[in-house]
Amino acid sequence: MWAEITVSAAKVAVIAGTVLTLVAVMEWVERRGAAFIQDRLGPNRVGPFGLFQPIVDAVKLLFKEDLTPANVSRGLYLLAPMISVSVALLTFIVIPFGAGKDVTVFGVPLGGVEVAPDLGVGVLFLLAIGSLGVYGIVLAGWSSNNKYSLLGGLRSSAQLISYELSMTLAVLGVLLATGSLRLDDVVARQGGQFWFGVVPQWNVVPQIVGCIVFVVAVFAETNRLPFDLAEAETELVAGYHVEYSSMKFAAFLMSEYMNMVTASALIVTLFFGGWTFPGMSRFSGWPLLALSLVAFGIKLAFFLWLFVWVRWSLPRFRYDQLMRLGWKGLLPLATLNLVWVGVAMAMGWIR
């Protein structure tokens, strides 16, 4: 009992610590990447290639004057960033980052590099908790008692709930093909086998439409450009977090980056085979675990870079365009994908 709890706690600490480190790295990648795309240098003073910039930023934000504006609803104003961070920290506990079903630590089965491998509701936990993220935004907007904040918060929450449907429907396509809510099973079904001997049996091949819908929807869910209507500096100054400063502001920023990591990991897991890699049947135990982490890391890095790449390449949507894309474009496409998976299963094309 206590051994299991210790292993679980260690997994929470290690995985959450890794994600939080990734957040810092991503902040650096984002700024250097932006500079690279815009043909300038970016942060390059602190440490080699400016690598320590995120640390300096964090320290600066920690020591900033802790302002609470005069007219806010104090309790809700403090609660909002806490909700955002908590939700972001909870969503990745069901994602399998690596193999390790056959590995034991101090006699306790590790159960994979995943915080909650036995959770029966699997990806549904992620979707359910993720849907609570709306509260952080809408409360930040409302409690700030600022017109920009209110509009930004409402816009953003309407955007989140609009794209949540398409995202969930795209996930349903994968679940229908898998027959399980657990992401472990989703990964297991995609690994090891090949079509025509070369194409790995990733879900992206039969469900390319679902994959595209999902990627677009998570871009909107993470409030990233081209969907960062909530911030829209040119019209709403900074949207729902305009009244936030110091670490409270950083909380929103960090949850955005954590959501980005979770979203990328989810894309990899659902559509790109998760931690599986060619030739993995030759390994087992710790070597398999290490190699699977590398494989996952490479795939994850690609999608994280995609987030940065898209951000500095595409202009922002107008709000009516955003709503039109979500409701009239993605939603029918996601439904069609679901129907297609059903038909393919009935015909025996997907086994």
């Binding site: 509701v121 549904l124 849907s131 709306v134 509260y135 209110l150 409402l154 709930i161 399980s180």
Partner: protein, 163 residues
């Protein structure tokens, strides 16, 4: 024993936030307190072995229905409770009495079932529920779609501005 501790914690938090949900003056606080209560109920579902229902509770109730409530509160500019002017005192007393009777009735019912303990251990997994939904409850499953369609049409007609 961990489950026991969690249940009593959740029960206390749930009741306290439920009281806040119906009694606080600020409607935003009302809605948020109800979110907490519904979350506590979801944990109770999980403890009762209804894991899918627990997730669905958070997804549907906390993640959707109460967001709509919050939007309406903001849509109406967070209206405060109107001052208790015209309402007669006996109405308030009658309301409290009715609530009391309800509680007493609940407890009275409880006295009858106290003897039995946890019997079956049927797990409410998504798979098990899906088999019931597409089996004996197929008609209701399809009909839910019609019900929601009707609700959607009705609600849209109500809020539409006529020109």
């Amino acid at each position: 024993m961990m489950g026991t501790a969690v249940f009593y914690l959740v029960a206390v938090v749930g009741v306290v936030s439920a009281i806040a949900a119906v009694s606080h003056k600020n409607p935003v606080v009302n809605v948020l307190s109800l979110v907490v209560t519904l979350f506590c109920i979801a944990v109770s579902y999980a403890l009762l072995g209804a894991e899918f229902l627990a997730a669905a509770q958070i997804l549907v109730y906390a993640g959707a229905i109460l967001v709509l409530f919050l939007f309406v509160v903001m849509l109406l500019g967070a209206p405060e409770e109107p001052p208790a002017g015209e309402r007669r005192p006996f109405q308030r007393a009658a309301g409290l009495a009715l609530a009391g009777i309800t509680a007493a009735g609940g407890v009275a019912v409880l006295a009858g079932i106290r003897a039995a303990g946890p019997a079956g251990a049927a797990q409410g997994t998504a798979d098990a529920l899906g088999r019931l939904l597409t089996g004996p409850y197929l008609f209701a499953f399809e009909f839910i779609s019609v019900l929601l369609l009707a609700a959607m049409v009705g609600a849209l007609m109500l809020v539409k501005r006529k020109h």
